[in-house]
Symmetry: D2
Subunit: 425 residues, 4 copies
């Protein structure tokens, strides 16, 4: 096993070093040289030079560089048309190859050749992030993003990802990034991190890519519990008693780490694999749920005309929400079950993610996140999505094909009475 795992070390040891005498030629000239080089003899050096140029570039030069990529390295539609016509007639492999070549902007070949340099993958991911940030003001550069997406979908294919257990024995430089990338319930410092990783009832898992071994792609934090929890503050309480008899694994935080990989989705694979991992190590765990935020709830409440919504929005602190808990739960259930986007999918992004993975809406809680952020975005409400390994495929199927939001009886019951008494809608 060890031999195979050591495979990585070579990649790793060859991180970008200070390029002794980086070329002074303009970066576009270097790109042309790289694209026209035959044989790879000088390719690595050119790739390294270009990337090191790029990293040192001031913002305005980056814009010029992207303009060059978008304009000078695009495909030629007429050549594509001609090649497609020809292939339509012959269906010959050689003509398909030619069509493939013509239909691929030269940028893709540039990116592939750049990727030969040590540490290149990470830089290319950051390059796309720079691009994404420019897009609002320069939408035409979107053509570059099309190529990034195409390449990254191939390079970051799930088959190449590696799941790693993150704990207090993980190298500090990785843990530092867990602190930095946590996007749901902020980790304040190393002591806070320790509380998330060290106790026996905590787990953390992340996906990595072999070519970026120091950069987690996505990670999930897991709490082992007895029963399904309804409050994230008690889940994370510093002084909490360590329970025994765990039967439930709670995914209470999932964070994407690489903005430069936006749109390349890892989340569903991650949860699925973590469920398997936990089942194998802890066979006594039989229930897999999330304790999830509801980022769109407050916004939706604002658009409602009913007085309960207004009252909920008016509450200034958790205490004020206490007597309104029933209303909050009811309206939350209504939001999650019935609020839709134009395409018929749930309005709430977290709901779309978990339901799309085959989870069901299991339970809704008021006063579950009493932090300032929890109050702001969802009036303290949170929700459990339940992953039943036996049913995820079927749930996913119904969700994708029929837009059906699977929900437990409890959650359905929250909104039913209203329908029968006719007091609503």
């Amino acid at each position: 096993m060890a031999f195979f795992s050591d495979l990585m070390s070579t990649l790793f040891e060859r991180r970008p070093s200070a390029p002794a005498g980086a070329s002074q030629r303009p970066v576009t000239e270097l790109c042309e040289a790289l694209l026209s080089s035959q044989g790879e003899v000088s390719g690595v050096r050119l790739a390294r030079d270009i990337l090191s140029h790029y990293r040192a570039m001031p913002a305005e030069n980056r814009r010029a560089f992207f303009d060059y990529l978008a304009q000078s390295l695009d495909l030629d539609p007429n050549a594509v048309i001609e090649a497609a016509k020809r292939y339509g007639e012959t269906h010959a492999p050689g003509d398909l190859a030619r069509l493939s070549r013509e239909a691929e902007p030269r940028r893709q070949e540039l990116f592939r050749r750049l990727n030969q340099a040590p540490g290149a993958t990470e830089t290319l991911v950051r390059m796309r992030l720079d691009l994404l940030r420019l897009l609002p003001e320069a939408p035409g550069l979107g053509v570059i993003d099309t190529d990034f997406q195409h390449l990254f979908a191939s390079w970051f294919n799930r088959g190449f990802l590696v799941l790693r257990h993150i704990d207090w024995r993980t190298p500090a430089n990785i843990l530092e990034k867990i602190i930095e990338y946590e996007a749901v319930h902020a980790i304040n410092d190393w002591h806070d991190l320790q509380r998330r990783l060290r106790p026996e009832d905590r787990r953390c898992f992340a996906f990595f890519h072999p070519a970026m071994p120091e950069e987690p792609l996505i990670f999930v934090e897991v709490a082992l519990c007895k029963g399904i929890p309804g409050s994230v503050q008690s889940l994370l309480a510093e002084e909490r008693e360590l329970e025994t008899g765990f039967d439930t694994a709670v995914f209470y935080s999932i964070s994407n780490c690489q903005e430069g990989l936006r749109g390349i989705s890892f989340g569903n694979s991650l949860i699925k694999q973590v469920v398997e991992e936990v089942k194998r190590d802890l066979p006594q765990i039989t229930c897999f749920v999330t304790l999830s935020p509801i980022p769109g709830l407050a916004r939706w409440l604002k658009d409602q005309s009913n007085p309960e919504a207004a009252t909920l929005l008016a509450a200034n602190d958790p205490a004020a929400l206490h007597p309104l808990a029933e209303d909050l739960r009811r309206l939350t259930a209504e939001y999650l079950l019935n609020a839709k986007r134009p395409d018929g999918l749930p309005a709430d992004p977290v709901a779309r993610f978990h339901l799309g993975n085959g989870a069901i809406l299991h339970q809704v809680h008021a006063l579950a996140d009493v932090s300032a952020n929890g109050l702001r975005q969802s009036r303290t409400a949170m929700v459990n999505y339940l992953y039943d390994p036996e049913k995820v495929e079927q749930n996913n199927e119904s969700f994708v094909t029929r837009r059906k939001v699977a929900a437990s009886k409890q959650v359905q019951a929250l909104i039913v009475p209203r329908n029968t008494t006719g007091r609503k809608k």
Copy 2:
């Protein structure tokens, strides 16, 4: 370091396991299901089923499967033409994305999705090998190969390859493959292998890909010597004395391992990286040469009308070649320097490889490979190609752009006298 290297273990541990109840549905139906599945929830299972179906398929079914891939999952030229026209008008990112999608046969998406399953990369490489073997009789299937090449060039990008030192401490299952894949000077058994790996004056390096950690892609065997050797038998002699004062690293055998990756070239990267590796570990080594076979020599001699060639071809054993050594060296030099393919590149494939990497023709030896194979293919002649790290880029440039075969003075001298005086000095 260790953490990062351990990244691989997860991939590795999840090798294909016996699929409990593999689906009984026809494989093409499974492919359609995989291609149409939204979300990846069932994707891994479908991918695993398809690959396990494929592995168990009798040859005739494979042919049918490839026919399906070629015909049913092709692109639609008219859709490409339409998308190309539209993009030609708008140059909008969305239209480029559509064009990219239309110009890519659905096979590629199928292969990417298949690759989600554990161990899939290896199976896909073997699938291409099966395909390559079918091509002579079914050239139309070549359209599938176009897609394989496109994907593999992306997946096996040099930036993802890992160089590993192979020695007597390497796991046996890897060593077993070194024995199996050695293509130049056969390794007879484990004792022979030991002689290639264990002595202080031997080194071996291989490239691996993280997703196929038990399969070397290409490897090179190196002998450390004092001076440049001119006989492979004395280099490999079982009883040889261990020299001291090494100053030369001899690449005496380079073997590609994966026929399914034909056309995805690793060799030049490998040599370049090994040179760097050896220089770092053994700064006293200053000379890097090959001791290479000349596979095309005997064939070329047959086509020559001069009597020396005929005499050389008539020699039945090395002893008979002894008195002809000078002629052999001269004609070898002539072959390597002057015999060309229609495209102007050297006729000899090994020469093309090393000269294309920036090496020069350094020395020519008679009676250098007296094995049956050496006698047959090159009348015992061998050649040293020299890699001068300072000059490889420049040599490569001249070779690629001007078809120039760089050669040492000694080698040039071998043919000059004959031209001027009509006989050897």
Copy 3:
């Protein structure tokens, strides 16, 4: 985990290198210098020099070296007596320290200081082996062995041993030693080894010591079976069908590797730990047995006066033993149950080992090892010792305190009828 496991690499990388200019001083002078050196500054160099001297010594010099160790580095009994008297009076810690010092031959301190050098532990173990071979002719050197035993018992304390799974992915240099050290059923070559390691129903485990990471100390080969096997040839048959539904782990070969560690016992720890390991990985395995040779049986039969024994001894091949199987099983049971050494323990060494570990005599087989060796030492008979994790401690207790040989009813029944009725059933 990986960090901790990497701890070893440093030790390992610093294997003995060719000592540039090893001292020309006599080795005894170097030993005195090492013993008198204060501070460790020169200690490592001296230790390295002494060990490298030792390794290069011709046999006769070794004898002289051992004489020096035995005579010049012994303790002084009078000084011990004086120190003991003083401690008897004062019971002061300082006086105990002095007594400890005086009661320890200077050899021990020498060995400890020698052990500072890279690779020293291995050399010291080999030094003891050299000593053991000299003992028959020079019994007085036995005083040195007393010190070796004392030190090695401390250094090779079970708490420092590491259990490793050995399989086809194990480094070749370790596997080579498995072939070499196999002492029960010889491994012919690498293909034979592969048959012992690679199939799904085979396991192998070894103990290592961190300071000798390339040298297994002891290893056990395990076959997974359905039911308890009664023939080692069918167990090892090359063409055997792979069974499913394993419920039994058979320890069919246990080999000590280091003669230089004779008397430092690892075997019982090994079996106990392997049982735990197998139980964890394969919970369906519930039965743990050996298939063991009976090295003392033929010798014992020779000493018996009954005609059955004579007939058994006269049989020239397995076929001839076929009709005698019942007699063979009965006499084997009698031998194992009743033949004793003067100290009341079983005469058979393998029986002593397993019964001493808490196993019971479970079943006796005729025609179980039909190899030449099996025929010679036990007329083809073999025996299963059964390890019932629940009962090993209790069995061990009875065996150690009351010399009780625990046996199954079947085995007991083999000899009972004969006693009561004078003839078989």
Copy 4:
């Protein structure tokens, strides 16, 4: 390599787990059972129980436990005397073995057997620490310490220690201990730690023992510099410029980690090995020095009657010491060169350590540690000890045999002028 490094994992994975049903028998009874057990079948369980009892013991019970060890498990001086007499007569190996046995308190065998349990070594080291803390009030328990020292010197033999590079990629649980154990220049928090480990001009190395893989034994922090530095604050300055052209490695902090291993010295081995490590990785580094505190200086100044000493002691802050720098340097040199203990060794403990390792006194600095602690213990003075690999053995020899304090000309010059001008003494 990886296989061998993985050896450790087994040890590691078997850390003490919650003992399911730890025995309720008194711990002394368990000790007797462990000592009298034959075979190791129940030994591990007993050892685990005893250690888990010990860990849970309140302080008063520990005292009783140590009393038991001291009194009930001591040796019998009369039996030693008798065995020594006998061996004096016979010089027979068997009699030496008996003497060895009798001269060893049974405690040692108990500790060896305890060490079979997982994680035992760490607990035994902590047990000795508990003992050391009791010694002032119960000096008679010192007999136990004699045994601990004897065993630990054998177990923690330098040949078993492993040097590890500590950096920002080291597991967090190890780094946490570096923060905790730093004894010279306190590390405030994780950010401070990062500044010590991450920059290119910083290194850190630690010794580990395979049986305590998560506990550093001793570590040294190294700064790479251009020239020899004279101020620890500028060395550690947060905002410092990164220099290039390093030629000097500065050992600016060495910390022993395990009080329970007091007296088992690792420091000199560590420095020697780190020098080799740095030389190999960074051949441009040619100068190896410390920047060391002078813990005994202020105390010594108090005992001096000269007015300069009094003035130095009266200075309240670094600023006040500025004009006194020359006096401070001179008196520091005098202290380090001339102040001795009764045994003739330097009065300063840090001086004893480095001079004893073969370093020389290279330079003395005023205002080199302006922290509160630096002011208190040495009036801001610090000293460079220089390790010249070529001369350490010879320096060590002179120091050990002739008590000679090797010093550079500059340091010697600091005190010479006074002698020549006659103003002093």
